[in-house]
Structures are given as C-alpha cells and as structure tokens.
Symmetry: C2
Subunit: 730 residues, 2 copies
Amino acid sequence: MSLIFWLVPISALLALGFAWYFFRQMMAMDEGTDMMKRIATHVRKGASAYLRQQYKVVIVVFLVITVIFSFLAYGLGVQNNWVPFAFITGGFFSGLAGFFGMKAATYASGRVAHACRTSLDGGLRLAFRSGAVMGLVVVGLVLLDVSLWFIVLNIFIPETFDGYQLMTITAIMLTFGMGASTQALFARVGGGIYTKAADVGADLVGKVEAGIPEDDPRNPATIADNVGDNVGDVAGMGADLFESFAASILATALLGAAAFMGYGLDVQFNAVVAPMLIASLGTLLSIAGVFMVRTREGASQKELLRSLGFGVNMSAGLIVVASFFILYFLNLPNYLGLWGSIVTGLLAGIAIGQSTEYFTASAYRPTRKIAESSQTGTATLIISGVGTGLISAAVPLFIIVVAITLSFLFATGFTFDMGSLNYGLYGIGISAVGLLSTLGITLATDAYGPIADNAGGNAEMCGLGAEVRARTDALDALGNTTAATGKGFAIGSAALTALALLASYFEEVRMMFVKFLDRPQELINGTPAIDAEFIDFVHHYEVHLMNPKVIVGILLGVMAVFLFSGMTMNAVGRAAQKMVDEVRRQFSSIPGIMDRKAEPDYARCVSISTKGAQQEMMAPSLIALLIPVVVGLLFGVPGVSGLLLGTISSGFALAIFMANAGGAWDNAKKYIEEGHFGGRGSEGHRAAINGDTVGDPFKDTSGPSLNILIKLMVMASVVTVGLAVSYAMF
Amino acid sequence: MSLIFWLVPISALLALGFAWYFFRQMMAMDEGTDMMKRIATHVRKGASAYLRQQYKVVIVVFLVITVIFSFLAYGLGVQNNWVPFAFITGGFFSGLAGFFGMKAATYASGRVAHACRTSLDGGLRLAFRSGAVMGLVVVGLVLLDVSLWFIVLNIFIPETFDGYQLMTITAIMLTFGMGASTQALFARVGGGIYTKAADVGADLVGKVEAGIPEDDPRNPATIADNVGDNVGDVAGMGADLFESFAASILATALLGAAAFMGYGLDVQFNAVVAPMLIASLGTLLSIAGVFMVRTREGASQKELLRSLGFGVNMSAGLIVVASFFILYFLNLPNYLGLWGSIVTGLLAGIAIGQSTEYFTASAYRPTRKIAESSQTGTATLIISGVGTGLISAAVPLFIIVVAITLSFLFATGFTFDMGSLNYGLYGIGISAVGLLSTLGITLATDAYGPIADNAGGNAEMCGLGAEVRARTDALDALGNTTAATGKGFAIGSAALTALALLASYFEEVRMMFVKFLDRPQELINGTPAIDAEFIDFVHHYEVHLMNPKVIVGILLGVMAVFLFSGMTMNAVGRAAQKMVDEVRRQFSSIPGIMDRKAEPDYARCVSISTKGAQQEMMAPSLIALLIPVVVGLLFGVPGVSGLLLGTISSGFALAIFMANAGGAWDNAKKYIEEGHFGGRGSEGHRAAINGDTVGDPFKDTSGPSLNILIKLMVMASVVTVGLAVSYAMF
C-alpha cells in the first residue's frame, strides 16, 4: 500500500471531525423561546419518526436482497462471496449519513431563527455550517467506507495474474455502491412523496381554501410540511449525492484498473487511487471553503449569494490546481490529458448550474415569459412552463454530450480509436469525480436551504418580529436559489456518474467473459490482444445497434423511466389527497383552530404523510430494482446494455425537464408576488399558484427520484451481471 | 416483371377510382341553406388559403433541398443521381393527397350537416365516405408512386451482380419516402400549430372570457377553429400516414432484397414485392370495408361505433387470411413465420388502440380518476393527468417491444442468432406493413372525425334544430373516440415504421461499406461470408454500445426530441397569444358582434393563424432536418445510429404521453359535463376546462409532430448516409 493512499482515510476522519465540530458548535447555541423550542421539537420528532419508519422498511428490503445475493452463488459479479457485505455497508453508511444530516438540520433550524433575532451574519453562518454537517458527514463516510474496504480487500484478495488483483478489488468495491443506491432510492422516493404530499395538502386547504398564509400554525399540515423539507431535501438529497460520490469514485477506480492493466502494478495502483485522492483533496478544500462563508449585516441577496459562492468557488478553483499536482505526482501516462478531463467535468458542472439558473430564475426571460402567460390563465401558464421545461432539458444534455466527448478525447490524446477506449472511459469517470470532488461544500449549500426554510417557518409560527422575519426571509430566498442549482448539479452529476457506471458495467461483462474463457491476460489494454479480444467480445455479446435485443432494451429503458415517473407523480396525488381530507376534517371537527384557541393535531398529519410515503414508495422502487434483472434474464447483456442507455438518456432528460419546469413555475409565482403582472391576489397570481403546485411533485418528487433510478438500474445490472451473462433466456 | 406485381398499380387505380366515385357522390348532395353554404365556404376558403400558403413554403424548402442533393454527388445513398427525383415525387404525391383529402373534407361538412336534417344513417354514411376519399387517395397515390418507380427503375438500373439490381432499386425508392417525410413534417407541425392556436385562442376569449358556447358564430376565431380541424386533423394526419404507409412498404422491400439475396432472383423479387402486394390487398379490402359501414336511425353511440368498427374489423380480419395466401403463393422461405409477423403487427395495432382507449375514454378508471381530481382544483387535475399520461406511455412501449421481438422471432424461426438477422429485420418490416395494410379504411375513420366536427359546427352556427344538432353531436362524439384511437394507431405505426427504416439504414450503410470495399458478393446473406463481413462491419463502424460516439448520439437523439416538442409547444403558446389579442380586439372594436348585429372579421383570424403557423413551423422543422446531417458529419455512422435510437425511443414515449394525457383531459372534461363531479359550471368543470386547454397542444401539436420527427430523422439519415460514411470528422 503506497503511502499517499493514507491521505484518503485521513481526509475521511478530518471531514467527520469537522462535521462533529460544527455540530457541537451549533448545539451550543440557544434555541430561543419555549414556543420556538416546542415547534422545533415537533418537527424534529416528526422527522425522526419518519426516518425510523423508513429505515424499518429499508432494513427488510436489505435483508431480502442480501439473502437473495447470498444464494445467487454464480449469478453475481466477479467475486460474489463479497457482494452481500459490500452491499450492506454501502446501505448502512448511507443511512448513517442521512440520519446525522437530518439530526443536524432539525436541531439547527430553531437555533438559526433565534440567531436571526441578533444578526443576519450569525444566522447565515449557523445555517450554513449546520448544512456543512450533512455535507461533510456524507463525503467523510464515503471516503471512510472506500478506504476500509480497499485496505481489507488488499489483504484478502490474492494476486493471481499481474494486475488482476486490483481489477477484482475494484469490481467488488463497486457493489458497495449498490447498497448506497438502494438506500438512496427509498430516501428520494419516500422523502419526495412525503414532502410534496404535505406541501400540496397544506397549500390546497390552508392557502387556497382557508386563505391563511404559508407556515401558519393554525394549519394542521404545517409541521408535516416542515418535516417534509428535512426528509426530502436534506435526507433525500444527501443519500442521492452520497451515492453519486461513492459510485463515481468506485467506477473510476475500476476503469483505471482496467485501462492501466499491463502498465506495471505501480501505475495501475496510482490509476486506481487517483479518483480517491482527488475526492480526498476536494474534501479538504471543502472544509477550508466552509470557513470562508460569512457576510455583513443588512447584506443584499446578491451579497449573500456572493458570500456562499465565494466558499464554493474557492474550493472548486483550488481543486483544479490541486488535482494537477496529484496527477503529476502520481505520474500517470498522459496525466495532462486526464487533468483536462477533470477540468471538463468541473466546467460542465458550472455550465449546468448556469443553465438551470437561466431557465428557472425570474431574472431571466424564460421565467418572466411564463409569468407573463399567467395573464391568459392557468392553462397558458402550464403550456408555457411545459414548453420551456422541455427546451431547457436540451441544454444540459448538450453540455453532457460536450463534456463526455471532451473528457474522452483529452484522456485518449484526441482519438476515438477503439484501442484507446479504456483510457477514454477512465477520462469520463475522472471527469465525474472532478465534478463531485468538492461535494462537501456543494452539499452544504444544498442542506442550508431547508434549514433556512425551516428557520423561517419557526419564526413565522412563533410570531417573531418583522425584522427577524425579514432576515429569515433573506436566508430562505437564498436557499431557493441554491436549491435550484443544487438540483441541476445533482442531476448532472448523476448523469455523468451513471455513464461512468455504464462503462464499468461493460468492464465487468468483459471480466466475466474472459473469466469464462479463462484468458485473463486478454484483459490487458494497449496490447495487440485487445483488438481480437474486443471483436470477440462485441461479437459474442452482440452489444451493437443492429441487434434487436439492444433495441428492445433501449425501448424498455425508456418505458421504465416513464412508468417510474408516472407512478411517483400519481403517488403524490394520492398521498396529498389523504392530507387534504385530514386537514379539512380537522378544520371542521376541532373547534377553535381558526381563532387560535385550540392547537391542531399536527402529529396526525405527520403520520398520514409518513404512512402515505411508505405505502407509495414500494411499487416504483420494486420496478427500479427488478427491471434490470428481468431484462438480463430475458435478453442478456445486449438487452441490459440497451436498457441502461435508454434509462440514462431519457431519465436524464425527463429529470431536468421536471426540475426546471417546477423551478420556473415556483419562481414565476414569486415574481408575480413581487408585484409584476397584477401581483398578489390577482387572477394571474392564482394561475401562478396553480402552476407552482403542479411543479411541486415535478421538481421535488419525480424529477429527483429519476436521478436515483438511472444510477440504481446501472448498479443493479453491475451486481447481477452474472445472471445476464450465464442465464439469459435468449 | 412477374405478373402478380401488376396487382399493385391496379389496386392503386381502383383506390383512386373509388375515391373519385365517393367524391362525386358527395358533391351531388345538397349543401343546405344559404347560411350553411356561406359558413362552409368560409371554412373552405380558409383551408385552401392555408394550404396554398403552406405549399409555397414547402416548395421553397424542396427546391433548396433538391439543389443541395444535386450537388452532393458523393454524399448521398447508393445511386445518388436518382435521389433528387425520388425525393420530389414523394413530396408531390403527398402534397396532392393532402390537397384532395382536404378538398373532400371541406366540401363534405356542410353537406353532412344537411344530411343530418333527414337521417342519422345518411349523415354517417356521407361523413364516412367523404373521409374515405382521403383514405383511398392516400393509399392509392402511395401505391401508384411505388409501382411507377419500380417499373421505371427496373428498366434503367442494370443487373451488375446477382441480386444487386433489386437492392439498388429498393435503396433508391426508399428516398421517395424522404420527400413524403418532409412534406409531412410541415403539414403536421404547421397544421398542428394552426389548429391549436385557433382552438386555444377561441376558447380562452370566447368560452372563458365572453362566456359564449363552442362554435358560436359571434366568436371571430370560430371559422379559424373549424379550418384548423381540417388542416391539422385531415391534411396533417393524412400526410403523416402517407409517409408511414410509403416508408413501411419501401423499407421492407429493401430489407427483403437484402435478406433474400443469394436465394435466386425469383425469391428475391417475391420478397421485394410481398410488402407491396400485402398493401394492395389491404387497399382492396379497405374499399370493400367502406361499403359495409351503415347504421339505423336513432342508433346509440355504441351502435354507431360498432358500425364503424364492423367495416374496419372486417377489412383487418380478411387481410389476415389474404396475406397468408399471398405469402403461400409467393412461396417465400419460411412463409408461415412471415405470416406470423404480419399477424403480430396487426395485433399490436389493435392492442395499442385498446390501451389508448383504456387510458383516454371516460368509461375507464384512469380518466374518471382525473375527472375526480378536479374536485381539489386545476393543479391536482394537471398532476393526475401528467402522472397517468406518463404511465400510459409505458403500455404501448411494452406492446411494441413484444411485437418486434415476436415478429423478429417468427421470421427467423425462433432464434436471435445474428446469422438470421436480416430475416428478422424483414419480419419487423413486414409486421409494420401488416399493421398499415388496411390504412385505406383506418384513415377514413380518422378523417371522418373532423368532418363530423365541422358538420356540428356548421349546424350550430346556422342554428339548425335541436334534432339535427343531436344527430351531429352523436356523429361528433363518435369522431372523438375514433380520433383518440387514430392517434394511437398513427404513433404505433410510426414507431414500427421508424424501426423498419432504422434497419434499412443499417442496410444502406452496409451497402456503402461493401461498395467502398468493392465486394458486393459479401452482401449475400446466409453464406459464411456474412459472418466475417458482419464482424468487419460492426468493427469498422463501431456501432456498439461501448463506443462513446454511439452514447453521444443517443443523448443527442433524446435532446432533439425534447427540444423539438418544447419548441412546438411554445409555438402554440405564442400563436394562440396573437389570436387572443385579435379576438379581444374585435370584441371591443367591432360594435354589435355580441347581439349578432355585425359579423366578426373571420378572415383576419384565419390569416393570423396561417401566418403564425408558417412562422413558427420553420425552426423546429429545420432542427429535425439538420440534426441528423450534423451528427453524421461529426460522429459518423455510430453517432447517427445512436441518434436515431435515442430519437425513436424517447420520441415514441413522449408522443404517447402527450396524446394520451391530452385525450384523457379532454374526456375528463366531457365526463364532468355529463353531470359528474358537479357538472357544467362547477369549480371542477372550470378545472377540467383548464386541463383540456393544456391538453390541446399536447395531443394535437407536439405529440403528433413527434411521429414525423422520428420517421423524418431516420429518412434524412438514410438519404445522407454517404456524408456520414465518407466525411465524418471523427
């Protein structure tokens, strides 16, 4: 084990240590008045209750899958006896990250509201550092799990053939991502349904029917709504990016082991640890970045945004420099080209963020046009949002196309020659790692959003003064902007990660193939053997576009995406319906709610959302888990390959369409509320509220759930590759 | 030329003859009162004006493309000197079909309204037979063009190598479909924008703001709305299916020439004419079917539907029997299997129709659930429609997957072995021909819809009695049902046709490849040469899924679909906005419109819709034409292959989502209007009207335009295959 590797566990421990430090720092703050404490406790209890319930379901699912995995002696990947353990730790660590992140967020929000009673800067720093707990726990636990497994497997897996050890180790480690994916699936789908059932239910009865404002304590669903922000936007988002972070590192490690096999063990080892080291450096820079975020009292929204941006951009800028030195030090062949791939990934992330902002912020034409179309009613507003959302999906697709083309070409020295394929795929993988390297701080800005939102809710419910409310509003508005770009980032990184995973899927198939033929020396890249081997491989598995099994696979991949998002969409509708009924029931059967003489039954709404989410998340989740296995058993590797490409491409597009349309409707409403096109209370405003409600499940349930779908389906295919290779019906 | 081939031109002439006969029969009927004549003339003039305007634009586009084709001496398909001529005739015949079909429809509607003054049966028969004019002209002109070209090319193209003549002829003939595609693109996109701009504009100001009923003569946009039904649903639908009919026959002919090369010239010839003969027999059976449609006075909607269904089903049932005998007579190897493929195609068509009906008719749960969600407002109604629409897209995808798998397996004798690939692809092609064979009568039921709709409009505007109105309403309601299933049929057949076209694209690439290598004998299937050749081919063009160019292509294909549908969606929004402004202007500036003392300026609204459609159709159309060429020049055959698969798969799914969501909202509104969930005038009804308006561009503009997009992009790739093969940058 080379010395430099130890940077990975050290960064992991540092990240966890600083997370603990920020958490203690936050816990030491005052939570404010009794009323504030009571509200915060309500939210905290609701969130914990939900998480407990969700983990119960997830544990059962994990047990079932683990048992199945244990019996599928020959059906799994290269070293199937390790798979169940890797699977479980992935799920466990991801769950742990969600648990800590949400604990921090729910303890923080009341304290942030209280801090805002004194100063804006205090509020911002507290909210942001509490968000950083989530960010650092996620990256810390990923790096910890990666390093532990890497150490253990290096001890247990023997070297049978030059370079085969690292291929086997990285192939096993990849299945750790399957656990994280499965955990993330339930977190995103369940959390997404929870939060929007509560939100839509609270809005429809509270705002529209009863005419009381957002976060009014008289609304029985208001606590559930605040809980929803935490389980959806904190725990769900965290699990999603935990998975992307882990999978991009692990897939790239495998691709590195494959690309540099036959270059000597040192070079191969360096190629394997390169993604881990880049992620570690990015983590250290994220910690530094967190300390750079501060602002002055009375700062404008622009200044607030700039102060957040300063921390994020500093980390990103420094990782560009740091990764150059790492690659230089590792002395990989064509290290300059690989550095180009990393920079490409980072630039792609920024470009996708910019495009998200352009299509969803009311400062730009598209959202203003949508707001304008409210003047002819809800229907034209919806048409306009759908049209713009569809167009907006084209831009990130184009960015990803440019990014994978460039990162491939940089890594191969500007050729598409198939002899260089493996270097190019490694380039794509490492560009995903580059994009995600500073996740520690990016995720902090994401988790900051719901904390600020909840702080605002707390301030509103406790009737804090107008000055305090103005400060929490400023923080909240900032959170909406970071939420939109955060979603773009999550989807973009999911797409790049999924493509890297897809490449490693092919690598695993190739390993199965040569294992099957007992010719491991043919795994070596860059030798004449690869060419014949490769033709054999393509011909043997017929993963070409003339094969109807591939075409069928692509169609089924698109089918899975549409089915899954339709089901999650309808799930929100049904769960929200139950919430509407409950809120209506409380308004009519509990006398005195409206004149604040009686407290509504918050807990019942929380439990309705929890149950609704649990019931509704099962069917779409099972589809996501089963389709790759079934397609593999029917149509083998060609079918699965097509399936994954169909899922990734259409899932990515649909996810962006949904996230951007939802974000644009949200901001079009806010733009009108600022006094444009008739302002609050006008007919146009009513149309915009409808648009915003339609957008809720778009942007917070179905859209983000698709991130997981595209990654999980590749993961499930990677893990069950042996089934498709050995037992395919056709 | 074998004797049996002459059945094709004879069927063509018979179809055209009967079209002429039905047209004369219709023209001989009385058009009713002066007022009825005046209204009908308004609509007729508007439709002609639009078509003239559109043809002007299309002629320019055709000239430009033809000139480009003439200069691309080496950039086109196998025999590039014929391409420009084939391209032009395809466009010309398609345009002619649209012209005659719309003439018949616009002459018919007033007469149908008048016929309904006497009897329901008279109205139904007249409307249906006038629709049959469109159906028979379309299939007649396709078969005429196909036979003329086949005869001419058989004279001019020499036999250079056994079986190479027919491959060359069919490859040239395929480019005839490119002309039809281009014509169809403008007809669908332009017509789709026209009809919904008028419809949305008329509804928003007339129904919602002014509170006057549908088709009220006081609404200035009402004539434009009626014109729109003709240009969108008659001319647009006709051009769409003209293209599918032509392309499925021509692609299958090429696939037949390729699959049965080396089997002797007789067998190859029979394989080439088989799709033409099946289409011819289907056409003869369609004529017979038209005569079977009749009903009794006071028939219920169910009976009306049954009488239409009787004609359609009889034709479809008989083609199953007839195609067996044709294949038996042609004595193709494995004719039983091929017959299985045809039956599969027919059953897939029926299954897709059933699924469309299930998801869009108010007799079933999904639409009733959507109607129910109107009780909590517009937002939940939209969410529910989007959710159900997304799910509904999964079903036809699954049906198509089963259909292509089975038709492939039937044709190969139940193997996916790549040595049998060409037989399987021929099987997929011939299943598409089977699905479309009775297009003559299916299209008659489609064109019937807008004729009945316009007859109702005429009756309403002329204030005919309640009894007449009841009859036209019955016919119109029937038209709505046939329209929904017609859309499902159009999309399903477009998908199967596009897949057959994709297979022929690969065939053309293979031809370019062997031409390039000067080894035409290697085109022969079923010999050991194919295997080596095939590996060479896959390896040379790298059309496998590990190639990043393929992946990039797939992503770009999905991008094209989202961009195109977003643009058409926004185009409707903008054009409708202009219509809204104009109608508002007329209401306020022309005194006496409301108390029927002054006639509104219908012509101005017609001209606004015309101009709007013309302006808005250019950008999306250019994208559809240019993307395949640009991707070919950048990423070559692998990029284009991926592009086409991405476009077909996601375009198909999005088209069905849009068509079904739109149809379900439409019928949910009608269900509420029947008195459910509060009925007319309730809050729920208002929500349902909003849903219906959102659905308008979904189901009548963007959705159907995607049918063309997926076919046209394959066509454009087929025609410019030489560019991708010879000039690709990477």
